[in-house]
């Protein structure tokens, strides 16, 4: 059986060097678009179609100071991906057996429904190619046994990569170390609302993921769940009923005959 792969992000070790950002750009051969300076050390204000991995420099004021809550903003590779549920194009979004959720551009129709379905607001639609892009967890590298580019570059051991149960164990261990170091609220961010994520975070304050730029208890939007679930089946049933109904109507009453027009001269 293929093991589920996990990217573990220990936010307490991130120094904001952005090596992972550059490694991502370099590996995926993406040209960087120069943006505007937003008053923080963050590279970009947000993700972009050609920028899949952003280190967020979340600022939190402390007693007489400021603390940076670094967080790595990219696709979370959910166990139950909202993007995959919302996607109407067959094969445009695939969930591999190792847990990687990947976009296949050749099959993408650019409808952008995955953006609606994503609880983490990750996919980005490119106005040039009219297709949606996001982190692939370097599925090409992982397929041949290499770690993703961001993981390899990280100089502080903040990022690690491995099999899911093992990484969960490592994450819990690290959280308990943080607890004894004085971070009583330290814990692992692995939201159950999306079936768990294959990108795990160790947060110093897991009760307040919002200050790390992560949603608290994310779930797939109910509109997507309804629309791709009950509503879709109901609609299909109605359509099939209509077709069947007209078929039986034809059997019973036969084709419609035009009445001869008597007034017309011969």
């Amino acid at each position: 059986m293929t093991p589920t792969v996990v990217k573990l992000i220990d936010t307490s070790l991130c120094i904001g060097c952005k090596a992972c950002e550059v490694a991502c750009q370099e590996w995926n051969d993406q040209e960087f678009t120069i943006g505007t300076f937003g008053g923080t050390y963050q590279t970009m204000p947000d993700l972009a179609p050609n920028f899949w991995n952003l280190i967020k420099f979340n600022e939190r004021e402390t007693d007489g100071g400021l603390s940076w809550l670094m967080s790595k903003y990219q696709c979370m590779h959910c166990g139950d991906p909202g993007c995959l549920r919302a996607c109407p194009a067959p094969g445009a979004i695939v969930q591999a057996r190792n847990g990687i959720v990947d976009f296949v551009s050749d099959n993408c129709i650019g409808c952008g429904y995955c953006i609606t379905g994503c609880p983490f607001d990750v996919p980005r639609l490119s106005p040039e190619t009219k297709k949606v892009y996001k982190c692939t967890l370097c599925s090409d590298r992982v397929a041949v046994g290499l770690e993703p580019a961001c993981i390899k570059s990280c100089p502080t051991n903040c990022l690690s990569f491995g099999e899911r149960t093992e990484m969960l164990r490592v994450a819990e261990k690290r959280a308990s170390v943080l607890k004894t170091d004085g971070y009583a609220e330290a814990g692992v961010y692995n939201p159950p609302g999306v079936g768990g994520t294959n990108v795990l975070y160790v947060l110093k304050d897991v009760a307040d993921p919002v200050s790390y730029g992560l949603p608290k208890d994310p779930t797939i939007p109910w509109s997507v769940v309804l629309w791709k679930g009950p509503i879709k089946w109901l609609g299909t049933l109605l359509l099939a009923g209509g077709v069947l109904g007209s078929f039986f109507h034809y059997l019973k009453f036969g084709p419609k005959h035009e009445e001869a027009d008597d007034d017309e001269p011969v």
């Binding site: 060097c17 952005k18 090596a19 950002e21 550059v22 490694a23 370099e26 590996w27 051969d29 067959p90 094969g91 695939v94 591999a96 990947d102 296949v104 050749d106 692939t136 599925s139 090409d140 590298r141 397929a143 041949v144 580019a149 390899k152 570059s153 990280c154 100089p155 879709k232 299909t236 359509l239 099939a240 077709v243």
Partner: protein
């Protein structure tokens, strides 16, 4: 001629397709690994003094009619310095290598001149040797104030770099002692 059985089959297929069941088999696509056919060469990052080792991936089999190109650079796990990791500058080395502004030949700017001009390596060596000889002839100190033999040179500074290997440093030291050169510094300490 459409038989009743065929009608049923195609009708069912058309219906299921229309209702959102794709009959095309879903295919798992694996992205192509861009370094699967590359030549790996070991090198050292030229930026700061840490001296991280890198693996340079180049495409092209070095055949006579092929020009190789660097397609990817990443950290060398065998190096005890960085163990495969790199910083944001080091990981962008591909752009450094492939940059059209990269200096690949000697340039000369005449004293008081404004323009750089390309010169050959022979010319460059000739100019450097001439300049070193001139400075040494002017600044060589054979004896100090108290008349002791010192044979030292104080008006030339030698500067080493962080990517210099043991072999290069050995030769640099030989060269330095040969000239009697005293001021000696290395980028690794700056």
């Amino acid at each position: 001629m459409l038989t009743r059985r065929d009608f049923g089959k195609t009708g069912a297929a058309a219906l299921t397709t229309a209702f959102g069941f794709s009959l095309v088999p879903a295919q798992a696509a694996v992205r192509e690994l861009k370094i699967s056919r590359t030549t790996q060469s070991r090198s050292v990052c030229p930026y700061c003094a840490v001296g991280c080792s890198v693996i340079v991936h180049s495409l092209g089999d070095k055949a006579r009619n092929v020009r190789s190109s660097v397609v990817h650079i990443e950290g060398d796990p065998d190096s005890p310095v960085n163990r495969g990791t790199l910083c944001s500058k080091g990981i962008s080395l591909k752009q450094f290598v492939n940059s059209d502004r990269r200096l690949t030949r000697p340039l000369y700017r005449a004293p008081g001149g404004k323009e750089w001009q390309a010169i050959s390596w022979e010319e460059a060596f000739e100019k450097m040797a001439r300049a070193i000889k001139g400075s040494r002839d002017r600044g060589f100190v054979e004896r100090d104030e108290q008349g002791r033999t010192v044979n030292r040179l104080e008006n030339i500074v030698m500067m080493g770099g962080c990517t210099d290997t043991n072999e290069i440093n050995y030769l640099l030291s030989k060269f330095r002692f040969g000239l009697g050169l005293l001021p000696y510094e290395n980028q690794s300490r700056l």
